[in-house]
Symmetry: C2
Subunit: 162 residues, 2 copies
Amino acid sequence: MEQQTPVIFAKELLVHWQGHRSLTRRVIEAFPEEQLFQYSIGGMRPFAAMAMELIRLASLGITGMHTGKWDVYDSPLLEKDTPPATKEEILQLWDILTTKINTIWPQIRPERFQEVDKAFGMYEGVVANLMLYWIDNENHHRGQGYVYLRSLGIEPPPFWDR
Amino acid sequence: MEQQTPVIFAKELLVHWQGHRSLTRRVIEAFPEEQLFQYSIGGMRPFAAMAMELIRLASLGITGMHTGKWDVYDSPLLEKDTPPATKEEILQLWDILTTKINTIWPQIRPERFQEVDKAFGMYEGVVANLMLYWIDNENHHRGQGYVYLRSLGIEPPPFWDR
């Protein structure tokens, strides 16, 4: 096999990413309000703080992919380390970002995915790999949310259902 | 942007996958022997059982990608639901599989990634997406392993270090 064989295409990757995001949204929803902000295992962050990290990374990330500017905060809520006050606010930020990603994605120059950039001023790599990193990071933290939910006696949404 | 823009290429995807596998191997190693097989939160499986699922999926998966046969068990250990008796045995299976993946990968026909197949006789999809599923599944369960380790007071290997 030619190692420069293309395996994943832009359209499929968007569906893949948004499929993951749709599942993570249902994990946020599955938490009772109080536990979303307070429940923790082993000194780890509550799931609300993880969710805000995911929103922050993806929001700054999609803009950075598109424009090369990695510090464009769409909302003051994205600038601070503390999550917003309610689950509803987090879900609203989530949904705004879903639309933002769908809007920006088709505007990204095709050659952009193979360009080298320094994401968030820190992480140098090929843009496609930078993006995979934050998709992976979401999957990683969502898996942790599953343990939180299970230990609270709550059945999480099935992993395979995107 | 043309939505058929190729974003991820075979060579990078292999590096990406093996990078994830290298991290998961270090998570297995980080567990004390007893907790690997017995520790559980919220009624979930011990990490040894998750690790064996990951080995089974990837081993049958890489063969299935290559040949279209999804039921080729390389070892009797992969056929049963119970994990082997020791961490060392799991790590040996892990390493055999690492070599197997590297050996088979360049033999996969380029057009194979876009073919539709039914993985494990059950999951129909484009081969590239079927494979992403089991990479994601590994990431998901490894994130759960991080919570197990943290709750045992053990520092997991850093997520960004592949």
